[in-house]
């Protein structure tokens, strides 16, 4: 079984791109399973189910979805092996754009959209910078020039990645994506001992533990203050 981790900011079109890509896998008789990670709510599993493929979803609730992802990925791989699929795809949305769920030696795909603004590539951290493939969506509604500028910005933060334009609505580019997103010779049996590509950010303050009161006396742990002193 090949494992592909897909990540990207919320509403960038991850599910639409994946559905079009999976349709192309299925046409070529490659079986696919999907596990969708989200925070509070998702009904994307229903869209995947319509393709007739095995789907599971995981809601992280009060936990950071990316931390939740790493704590569960081993079990997810076991599930994929049990379902006997050729390709297992995980889809997750980082909330703060700081984490990335990518694992060393496992294909990492980042999906971002043209509408997100030209400084977005800079803002997204390791999730974009350490991806193997960057898929840019919503190209059909912006001008050619904006597409070119956005592509250049992505390329300048991640020159190693293959950058692809895919239209999640029409499926343009999804066939091409399906041809190199999956490596038939790759067989993942376990993730035991493998490592994340980049550490998740430190976050352990009283608010992580459920504190709701505001004020210095309630702030414990890893606390940092904003600099609001006068600018000289």
């Amino acid at each position: 079984m090949d494992l592909i981790t897909v990540s990207g900011p919320p509403s960038s079109g991850k599910t639409s791109v994946l559905i079009k890509t999976i349709e192309n896998f299925l046409k070529r008789n490659i079986s696919v399973g999907v596990v969708k990670f989200d925070c509070l709510f998702t009904d994307d599993d229903i869209y995947f189910q319509k393709l007739g493929i095995p789907v599971r979803k995981g809601l992280s609730g009060s936990l950071c979805p990316d931390h939740y992802f790493v704590s569960n990925i081993e079990e997810v791989v076991e599930w994929g092996l049990k379902e006997n699929v050729d390709v297992l795809i995980t889809e997750s949305a980082g909330l703060c754009n700081r984490c990335s769920p990518y694992i060393q030696d496992i294909k990492a795909v980042c999906i971002i959209d043209n509408l997100s603004g030209i400084n977005t590539p800079k803002k997204i951290g390791p999730m974009l910078k350490s991806a193997d493939i960057v898929v840019i969506t919503k190209g059909d509604i912006v001008s050619q020039a904006e597409r070119e500028v956005f592509t250049m910005k992505v390329q300048s933060v991640n020159p190693k990645a293959i950058i692809m334009h895919v239209n999640g609505l029409s499926g343009q580019g999804a066939y091409e994506l399906s041809t190199f997103i999956h490596d038939e010779t790759k067989h993942v049996e376990t993730l035991e001992g493998m490592k994340l590509r980049y550490p998740m950010p430190a976050a352990l303050c009283s608010y992580c533990l459920g504190e709701t009161r505001i004020g210095k006396s309630h702030q414990l742990g890893n606390i940092r203050k904003i600099d609001l002193s006068d600018i000289k």
Partner: protein, 341 residues
């Protein structure tokens, strides 16, 4: 630029040699100010752990990416000379598996080719086959040669050397910039040398194409539909590197379509148009007819059709004139409007 060579340079020397690397440091949130005499390794050795963690810097990835980026940019400058002149399409298969009957289709720069066929007939697939330079590895199994050869995998994946630029009806500007700032941004990202001249040229051409002129200071999001399209076409013709321009209809309103096509082919582009508008379709040298996922036939625009075109253009002009009269508060009179008939 090998990794060893890179590691020997100071950051100041690096910026001097490859000016664009400065932005690379900035984009990766790597602070270098005041440390220009350090090598890259020294910079990281002396960097606060906390800065590395806060800015999510992956030092190893940064260095290998930097090498890659320099290589990429160098190849980008080098490839500026090479331009694609011809596309050759070899037959594949219809949706039902029968082989397409044409021998081969050759399209060269300066050509305008229309692509016609009912919705869902496979127009998009043909365009995608061209964009991807298909090598019998797409659903149609067609083969597309660029300048007589199959593209190497890295050429197909290249983000900066894309073959096809696209202009379609539902495209909008979304950036919050003035016309000038927008052109400046695009020209800077393309790293052209004579930037100001190019910006001026695009601006002039766009104004020529647009029914109503506009200034350099207008926000691009405030341009009318016709003005937007005029700016997009002029910008794509002059500044986009892609040798092939794909057009998905050009609406008749507020833009001189003949001039637009002339501008594109004048810039040595290959123009492919997916259209059912008779004026646009007949402006093409030939049209590819698609049905059931396959190319049925290729029709050269005949002399007879060309003469229809001039009639159509006259009709079109009549309509445009009427539209303009209405715009400026005039009344339309039957005898005046049709007196030349």
């Amino acid at each position: 630029m090998s990794l060893d060579n890179l590691l020997r340079l100071s950051i100041g020397e690096l910026f001097l040699k490859f000016p664009y690397t400065k932005d690379f440091f900035t984009d990766h949130l790597v602070p270098y100010e005041g440390h220009e005499n350090y090598t890259v390794n020294q910079l990281f050795e002396n960097m606060d752990e906390e800065v590395i963690e806060d800015n999510a810097i992956n030092t190893e990835l940064f260095i290998t990416s930097l090498v890659e980026y320099i290589e990429l940019m160098s190849s980008y400058f080098a490839s500026n000379q090479e331009t694609e002149n011809t596309i050759t399409i070899y037959p594949g298969f219809y949706k039902d598996g029968t082989k397409e009957h044409f021998k081969k289709i050759e399209i060269t720069k300066g050509d305008i080719v229309s692509i016609v066929g009912p919705t869902g007939s496979g127009k998009s697939r043909l365009l995608a086959d061209i964009e991807w330079a298909a090598n019998m590895d797409t659903p149609t199994k067609r083969k597309v040669l660029i300048n007589g050869r199959v593209l190497e995998p890295h050429e197909r994946f290249s983000a900066s050397n894309k073959l096809v630029a696209q202009l379609s009806q539902n495209m909008n500007f979304v950036m919050d910039l003035s016309v000038y700032e927008f052109l400046d941004l695009h020209a800077s990202s393309r790293m052209v040398e004579n930037k100001e001249q190019i910006i001026a040229k695009i601006f002039d051409k766009a104004n020529e194409l647009a029914g109503e002129g506009f200034s350099k200071d207008v926000p691009i999001t405030e341009l009318s539909g016709g003005q937007s399209r005029a700016l997009m076409i002029a910008d794509t013709a002059i500044l986009s590197k892609a040798p092939i321009i794909l057009i998905d209809e050009i609406e008749n309103a507020g833009i001189d379509r003949k001039k637009a096509l002339d501008l594109l082919i004048g810039e040595d582009k290959i123009v492919l148009m997916s259209t059912h508008d008779p004026i646009l379709a007949l402006m093409g040298d030939k049209r590819i007819v698609i049905n059931n996922g396959g190319i049925e036939t290729i029709i050269e625009t005949s002399k007879d059709e060309r003469s229809i075109l001039s009639n159509l253009e006259e009709l079109d002009k009549t309509l445009m004139d009427m539209r303009n009269r209405l715009r400026y508060g005039k009344r339309l009179k039957f005898e005046e409007e049709f007196k030349h008939e």
